[in-house]
Point group: C2
DNA sequence: AATATTTTTATAACATGTGTCAATTATTTC
DNA sequence: GAAATAATTGACACATGTTATAAAAATATT
């Protein structure tokens, strides 16, 4: 990496660190580009040079933290693909739960911005991943052979992202959001699962309903 | 109504009409408060006096058009409550479809704004209505007696609103959005329906899946 | 009709995201 | 080391939602 690229990388990191510090210390509404530049010790123009827009800075913050919309692509095709689907959901949940207020603020700000490309690519990736896992589940006999993997995968991904959007807006706690997605996923998967996979999905669905009554 | 109230009502109407004219004629991004005041023939301050904020003007536009989040409360308890649920969905769909670009712009702008109260009340109303219809369906024996109407109604309402949010952001066509909600609703209702209601729901679900393949 | 109250208006201002543009500084190339 | 190139800076500007303030107009009260 040339020294110029090094300097850019360093400045990007400084800006991200400053953004995080402001959000954590002063709150999301204090994160203005002017304050960001000030805290990062950089001119107002530099974040635009290095990221493009305020929204892009926030996206970088999420990326940096390792957030991925989609359940991770799995190489180990021996394990249950449906379990991988829910594993991906659990990973997203854990990520956001690790610092709920912080990530919610960032996510909400990204969603509220009018940068359609951002969200489209996020949706696209999630859909593709979900479709791959559904196809795998069909191949493994967890889902019936007549299942349209593309359609079902898309449905599952959208169900997740739609709830995530509302979570970002502050409607639901983490727990409520997860419960909503799990319930939606289980119900739809139960319409397509093989007889072998049905019992565990059905009992998971029942457990979810009783758990909701408990709390 | 006093003359003062009359004048306010008249001005409110003028402002709404001007907003609609701008959105339709020049596009959503040309709807600025200054232009709105100009077209409405009113001072910049007046829309703030009469509505509160730009977002409130847009909400008034939706309300004026008769939009309701929730399926209409039904007095005729003889008919199928589940049918009423889907009827409400159809009504919302028809409303938005009647002028897709126009309403999508308004809805997206409202969602993108940071006025949490607005959205909360919308969510609250939808949840209550759905819960009422689910309870009715339980009472009629369409859904099993062990169904938790509050929980299920809430789940259904959220599933709808979450997709509506993504629709507003421009991800999906009307048709895709409806299909997503119908599929989610049918799958979950199938987990709770009585044996009598199952066949029609199951066949509706199958039809939806094959319809998706067709298009 | 005179006074008091409420609304609207006009004008200015502020904070914010973003863009412009020339000057400066740092780096690369020769 | 000199010339070329790239990145950063600084100062300013613009559009926008929103608020402040005082003057003017309309309406209500007596």
């Amino acid at each position: 990496m040339s020294r110029r690229e090094e300097a850019k990388t360093f400045n990007r990191a400084r800006i991200c660190a400053a953004a995080e510090a402001i959000i954590r210390g002063e709150g999301m509404d204090k994160l203005t580009m002017r304050r960001l530049a000030e805290v990062a010790g950089v001119s107002l123009r530099t974040p635009y040079n290095l990221f493009g827009s305020k929204t892009d800075v926030l996206i970088a913050l999420l990326d940096e933290a390792g957030f991925e919309f989609a359940p991770r692509q799995t190489g180990e095709s021996g394990a249950s693909a449906i379990a991988h689907l829910f594993g991906g959901l659990g990973r997203i949940a854990a990520f956001f739960a690790s610092d709920e207020a912080y990530y919610r603020g960032i996510y909400a700000a990204i969603m509220a911005s009018d940068h359609p490309e951002v969200r489209s690519t996020g949706v696209g990736r999630a859909v593709v991943s979900a479709q791959a896992l559904v196809a795998e589940a069909v191949a493994h006999g967890e889902l019936r052979a007549d299942t349209d993997a593309a359609s079902l995968g898309r449905h599952l991904a959208i169900a997740l992202l739609a709830v995530l959007g509302m979570w970002g807006s502050g409607f639901f706690s983490n727990r409520e959001s997860i419960a909503q997605v799990r319930r939606a996923w289980l119900a739809v998967l139960l319409q397509h699962c093989s007889d072998a996979a049905r019992p565990s999905l059905a009992s998971a669905y029942r457990d979810l309903c009783t758990a909701e009554i408990d709390q």
